[in-house]
Symmetry: C2
Subunit: 498 residues, 2 copies
């Protein structure tokens, strides 16, 4: 279905030519080729360079005319003023798709008339070429369709990322590329990323249209400074968001923000109230924070939506429980007191100093299978809550291993290091039933631990499918927005029935 969309071949090209690449580290086009090498791309790569014989090991061509085939995609990183000439050469060669990385078009203060942009648009139209940019950072496709399973088509991101169902389209290269520089601390899997830059020819609406029907995209993220086709966007977003949630960062509304935008993409942002209304009407989840944007995407990408906004809180520590409850209520969620029968059921398995009214404080000496599996299951089954936030100081083996580095402790302690296989198997046994139950009852569960995100135990929890957060602020805020989306979706579906 998406194969017919013109963006499909931007994301799955069989061959790519690069203008502007050399063998130096600082060259943006060279970086794009290096990203292709890292991500295992095995299509044809044709660097174009007037002097070099080869670039990053690929034979270089003096002009595009010399390339033995018509490249599926051309990437240009050359000064703006020579781009029209390059566009013409591409057109003559029969090229249909260009990614124009170069900046220096309408964002220059002395070219407000956009004559250069107009010129390249006219050339593109003449030769029936489509192009992304100018002033963008390239594209990323973790589900590249022409190669083997482990490949990606990636010119934009320096790291190898987990495959996932979250796709992003962004008017800022930072959001499309640079926020992905720390994969060890991001569990959110990425499907596609499109950096649209100044949108001279292809805009964020095109991307949304593509993602709407892309089978590998379940959740959509947008960074918006300006919408050029508001009506079309509204229509598309309305159709898309009940099935594929859309999370948007809209930047506008402040004086300084607008000043920044003018310099950035040359766009003039609109009144915030217009965008707020647009987001409300379409059920777009809006946020001003990049971390929250990623957190919401992580929760939604699991595909388990709460049915309402009642939160169950399970902790083994009082303070975080109270803070989570407090913030959840402030953000519009309900933290219901559990029914008597449910309280009695919980009481039986908890220590005497525990509490079980919600928040459920299991106290520090709780039993791990109860904490990880049984108590969440009881809550999920009960129908009294729609989502769970669980805070725990767990991962004692990591702590003990650390103590054992000290001679005096190692010599005297009646405990030792547990082999990795045992801990691996323990994590699997504790985590997987809860992940299954979460799906079965459609009750998302968010876990919080103060331990390092990459400590052995935290890693085991994450690898087995837990949504893990470092501290308890972020999951509350993100969950509140997910619950708001669910209410919107419910209303919309209700409306359709009537």
């Amino acid at each position: 279905m998406t194969e017919k969309h013109f963006l499909y071949h931007f994301l799955n090209p069989k061959s790519v030519a690069f203008y502007g690449a050399n063998n130096k580290g600082g060259s943006l086009a060279a970086i794009q080729i290096m990203n292709l090498i890292k991500s295992g791309y095995d299509g044809h790569i044709y660097p174009i360079h007037l002097e070099l014989e080869s670039v990053m090991g690929y034979k270089a061509y003096k002009t595009i005319a010399d390339i033995p085939e018509v490249p599926d995609l051309v990437v240009i990183v050359l000064p703006a003023k020579i781009v029209p000439q390059i566009f013409k050469e591409c057109g003559e060669k029969g090229v249909k798709r260009i990614i124009l990385i170069s900046g220096g078009f309408r964002e220059l203060l002395d070219d407000r008339k956009n004559t250069l942009t107009e010129e390249i648009c006219q050339i593109a139209d003449k030769y029936r070429m489509r192009f992304i940019g100018p002033n963008c950072l390239g594209v990323f496709n973790n589900w590249y369709r022409n190669g083997n399973e482990n490949q990606a088509f990636n010119t934009a991101i320096w790291e190898i990322l987990k495959k996932g169902n979250f796709s992003i389209a962004s008017q800022s290269g930072t959001l499309s590329s640079h926020i992905w520089f720390d994969p060890k601390n991001i569990d959110l899997g990425l499907s596609k990323s499109l950096s649209v830059g100044n949108e001279a020819n292809i805009d964020i609406v095109d991307c949304l249209e593509y993602y709407k029907d892309d089978p590998d995209t379940h959740v959509i993220g947008l960074y918006i400074e300006e919408l050029k086709r508001g009506r079309k966007f509204l229509e598309l977003a309305k159709k898309t968001s009940p099935n594929k949630p859309i999370i948007a960062i809209y930047v506008g509304g402040s004086k300084a923000g607008n000043r920044a935008l003018q310099s950035h993409t040359g766009s003039l942002s609109g009144d915030t109230r217009i965008y707020d209304a647009l987001f409300r009407e379409t059920g777009i989840i809006s946020t001003e924070y990049v971390q929250e944007f990623l957190d919401i995407a992580l929760i939604l990408s699991r595909g388990i939506l709460p049915k309402g906004n009642r939160v169950g809180i399970i902790t083994n520590s009082g303070g975080p429980g109270a803070m989570i409850a407090n913030n959840a209520e402030k953000k519009g969620m309900i933290v219901p007191e559990l029914s008597n029968s449910l309280q009695m059921e919980l009481k039986e398995m908890l220590p005497a100093n525990a509490s079980y009214r919600n928040p459920i404080d299991c106290a520090f000496d709780m039993n791990l299978p109860y904490f990880y599996i049984t108590i969440p299951e009881i809550l999920m089954k009960s129908g009294e809550i729609d989502a769970i936030i669980q805070y725990g100081v767990v991962g004692f083996q990591d702590v003990m291993d650390d103590y054992l580095k000290y001679d005096q402790i190692a010599k005297n302690a009646e405990f030792g290091h547990q082999p990795d296989e045992i801990m691996d198997s323990l994590a699997k046994k504790l985590v997987q039933p809860t992940v299954e139950n979460s799906k079965k009852y459609s009750v998302p569960i968010l876990h919080v631990s103060p331990m390092p995100f990459n400590s052995p135990w935290s890693k085991r929890l994450r690898e087995n499918g837990f949504n893990l957060f470092k501290l308890w602020d972020r999951p509350v805020n993100a969950l509140a927005k997910v619950c708001k989306y669910v209410r919107f979706k419910g209303k919309l579906l209700e409306g359709r029935k009537n």
Copy 2:
């Protein structure tokens, strides 16, 4: 001065006896001894145990009476019901200070009358003993005064932490101990931490009184569920906060939050409005988020306060600049357009596609010394801004090193790995002048990078004194609260003059 305060000896004891410790990993008292071993404590340690000959290598005693001296401090981790008897034995021995870790006192639903708490309070009074707890996690002193420089007196925290000037007093053990489990991701140095638990004898007001005069405490953090001595707290906070900023998390105001508190420490929280008014009157910086609590503390602990709330934004990427500007204005800060003369000065050193009105977008190909040193210095000198937030995608050597792991790239690239010494020296040259300027002009500068917080370049920036944040949301929010505190402080000092 603080040596005369009764809390001094809780934090600097020459000897400690432990009730409840054994050689097992799960024993909370054993963990406290292991923390002492890790932190290099070299005072006397006396485990008390009816059966064991030794605990963690220390000779064990059957009763406290058998110990050859009166221990400076006694730590108790035993079931609540036998605590009165232990208290009596301690009193008879001549003990003056107890930390009562054990829970199970008034937080138990069936002991609302607090008879057990009353009983131990009476025993303590009779023998003129002071005690912390019950239901607490112990104490931490990174500036232990009886040993060598590298020692700490620490029963509470599992990790070795950077020494600093931030001290915390908390009614939740999580805030005093568990949020410190990830030292590689926390640059905030800790001075002291006191977990006060149920405050049967010593409360958060005592801690504030101690921190007020403690020379190693410059910034104070409080986690409050309930204030038992409101008037005294108000007086003390008013005196303290203009000199030593106080950051407080107050948990209360929501139904579920109160339910959690009753179960946690048995306290009944007050009306949020009372606490809000209290915080406003005293200039206490209040937050609902634990991460923000730590971020504000980090900024304040550097001792460089902005003079107002005008923010300069320096980036090499448009999107984050626009988001920072937008959020800064929403949080009450001003992002002023720079004067013409300042803009002209900046224009000269920036690439053609850069912008310099504020936000200053240096564009991707900026010159590093300009980015790190010269542009911040020009802003600081100008008197047009009071604080700087700087976002940069830098650390290219880390990225290049990563590319060089791929054979094809390593074979063909005209760049190589830079020796650590060169990178170390570069970081020093780029960072230290700006840290100096920040002090000189009293303009705090907060740096943001999307790279991993522990990547080689990020680590170098941090080690040389930069306030580094992973993404750009947190520094804006934290800085806004710091600016609010500065306004309060200014008004207060103004008021005193008149």
